[in-house]
């Protein structure tokens, strides 16, 4: 494998509060290589978005990175602040947010927003920036670019807006793109278009993509590797095919079994009892043990397992190693 473009080691985010310190992200490590899509999946409150924000330096105080490091091509960026991180963010790392309407400025034409970003990060003339803006829009499949470049965001449909947001994230030719629920606000047919676009751009431009979503189906179809998060920790990490066919962590298995799937033809859905614990009230031991059907004494009392207990695959004392019968 080539050297990873983005390498995150032991990333921990803390939010100091009146009732003690909360850790929405706790000791998370992963690498993304060029041309690779890492899917990050989990339920609300699992810490997926917080991880993405921490990587790109967008944590809102009082949240802060308290341990671990984020390396971009071997260069630490988690301590970078002010102008320096601003030059990296946008230039070397792009971000795509969930809601395309709120991530575009309604008062500027999309052409202005793109040229502004290009002029900010690349050393080019204004006409050249506009030319590049057109290429960027063309790349993401906006039809009739000459006519649309001077339109305002409200004149675009949701799917087209998300394409503009992707163009905006890619126009400065970044090495890493963090896509936080890029298709959650879109209809399925448009979602398929946007995912196909993301996959194509990732391959063509050799981008390292971190795709954050709650939808296992999207991950299975789009990602190369998948990281499953639970209560701020990495529960499982592996190639997407392996994880989906034989999940090692009972949470991953439960997550997939509770997605309705007619091919299993069951009258009742499998359910994971209870819901994700609140951050201030994490159970001792493995954070998943109160909901787990494979729970043992070790899970309740031993310190929380990390990925190393299952050879870097699942943070579970008793991993499932063969396909559970359905």
């Amino acid at each position: 494998m080539t050297d990873p473009v983005l390498s995150v080691q032991g990333l921990t985010v803390e939010i100091p509060g009146r009732r003690g310190i909360l850790r929405p992200v706790d000791d998370v490590s992963f690498d993304i290589a060029a041309g690779e899509i890492l899917g990050v999946v989990g339920e609300s409150g699992a810490g997926k978005s917080m991880t993405g924000n921490a990587v790109i330096g967008l944590l809102d105080p009082p949240a802060r990175i308290s341990a671990g490091q984020v390396m971009l091509k071997g260069e630490p960026i988690h301590t970078t602040k002010g102008d320096a991180i601003r030059r990296i963010r946008g230039k070397r790392m792009g971000m795509i947010f969930q809601d395309p309407l709120t991530s575009l400025n309604p008062l500027l034409t999309i052409g202005d927003q793109l040229t502004e970003t290009i002029l900010q990060h690349l050393d080019v003339s204004e006409p050249e920036a506009r030319r590049r803006a057109m290429t960027a829009l063309d790349d993401v499949g906006i039809p009739a670019v000459e006519d649309r470049i001077d339109s305002y965001p409200h004149q675009f449909s949701g799917g087209m807006r998300q394409r503009v947001v992707i163009a905006l994230a890619l126009c400065a030719e970044p090495e890493v793109v963090i896509a936080d629920e890029p298709t959650t606000a879109l209809d399925v047919s448009v979602q398929a278009q946007v995912l196909a676009l993301l996959k194509r751009l990732c391959r063509e431009k050799g981008l390292a993509v971190m795709l954050i979503t709650h939808d296992m189906g999207v991950i299975a179809e789009t990602a190369d590797r998948v990281a499953v998060m639970y209560a701020g920790r990495m529960a499982e990490l592996g190639p997407v095919r392996d994880v989906v066919t034989v999940a090692h962590h009972p949470y991953t298995a439960g997550l997939m079994a509770s997605t309705p799937d007619a091919s299993r033809g069951e009258a009742r859905l499998r359910q994971i009892p209870g819901s994700m614990p609140r951050l201030g009230n994490l159970p001792a031991g493995c954070p998943f043990h109160p909901r787990c059907d494979r729970v043992g004494e070790k899970c309740r009392h031993d310190p929380r397992p990390d990925l190393s207990v299952d050879g870097g695959r699942a943070a579970c004392w008793f991993p499932l190693t063969e396909k559970a019968e359905t």
């Binding site: 799917g159 047919s189 189906g217 299975a220 179809e221 509770s258 009742r268 859905l269």
Partner: protein
């Protein structure tokens, strides 16, 4: 089995014109949006009828008209043989209306934060003038919460628990039909499965009928007996569940199935569907789907296809067979 809800030629037109003065100055005609266009279907007793479609297809508008929150522009909704919009006898209206309840998408917005759960759950019974002693507690236990929860406020519950409270409230009126408008889209999958299982159990125990509105094909496939597919306000295909999924007739239905993410499709390379839902204020002529349809012929842009039967499927397409 007989139909408990009959929807006949239902249409709803919204006036989306600019204000009067703008229209005069800019010489604009009145703009109308046909949100629901001549939709007919029936919900059998103790069955689950699902409406699927993308945003703007009119699914929620139909739900609102069935429950009586919106009057239809044309057509009728009959519940247990009574048309609520035209029934002259007030008592009969109240009696039938009591059999309808609704569960909404967002469990954070549909519970009054200043009311205790007991009062929220019992409200439909209070409105019907029924006894409410211990009712909330019993219903909360029925939906998998505990009786002590009745004294709490909604903010003390998680999303899935709130949706259970919404279900308990819907049950308090002892309805026969529940209209569920995207009941699980705001929930995480592990919680979604809990709520769907609960809804299936209640249907079996209490003999409920559901009108289940959703955009999620996997959920619909799990829950529904019969599925109607909507596009731009019109019903374009309707079939029993298994038949629809095994043999979709309409090109739009086929496109929807193809586009839905699948668990076993690693790195699937598909040609994503072309185009988007057109502007409903200015819909295409002929078949509303023809600009995106891969098999469209000249006739499709002129002639609007009517629903016709092919076996047990009703489909609105000239070319389907």
């Amino acid at each position: 089995m007989s139909a408990i809800v009959r929807v006949r030629n239902l249409s709803r037109v919204f006036d989306v014109s600019k204000p009067w003065l703008n229209r005069v100055i800019e010489r604009l005609p009145k703009a109308r949006l046909r949100a629901v266009d001549d939709v007919s279907f029936e919900i059998e007793e103790n069955a689950c009828y699902a409406l699927v479609g993308e945003s703007g297809s009119g699914k929620s508008t139909i739900g609102k008209m069935v429950v009586g929150l919106l009057p239809p522009s044309q057509g009728s909704v009959e519940v247990m043989g009574v048309d609520l919009a035209t029934e002259p006898e007030g008592e009969r209206r109240v009696e039938v209306r009591a059999n309808l309840q609704m569960i909404f998408q967002d469990p954070y917005a549909s519970l009054n934060p200043r009311w205790k759960v007991r009062d929220i759950v019992a409200e439909p019974a209070v409105a019907q003038g029924k006894a409410t002693d211990g009712l909330a507690e019993a219903l909360l236990e029925k939906v998998g919460l505990s009786a002590v929860d009745a004294g709490k406020y909604p903010h003390e519950f998680s999303g899935g628990q709130r949706q259970r409270i919404c279900i308990a409230r819907a049950l308090a009126g002892e309805p026969k039909v529940i209209i569920c408008d995207e009941p699980t889209s705001a929930l995480d999958v592990s919680v979604q499965s809990q709520v769907l299982n609960l809804m299936s159990d209640l249907r079996a125990d209490l003999g409920l009928s559901y009108l289940f509105i959703s955009h999620d094909l996997t959920v619909v496939r799990h829950m529904a007996d019969t599925i109607g597919v909507l596009y731009l306000g019109a019903l374009i295909e309707e079939a029993p569940r298994d038949r629809l999924f095994e043999d979709p007739k309409h090109p739009y239905t086929q496109m929807l199935f193809e586009a839905a993410p699948k668990m076993d499709a690693f790195g699937r390379e598909i040609d994503p569907p072309k185009g988007e839902i057109p502007n409903p204020i200015d819909p295409p002529s002929g078949c509303p789907f023809h600009p995106r349809c891969p098999i469209a012929v000249d006739r499709c842009s002129v002639d609007r296809p009517e629903l016709r039967w092919i076996g047990s499927t009703r489909v609105a397409c000239h070319l389907a067979e």
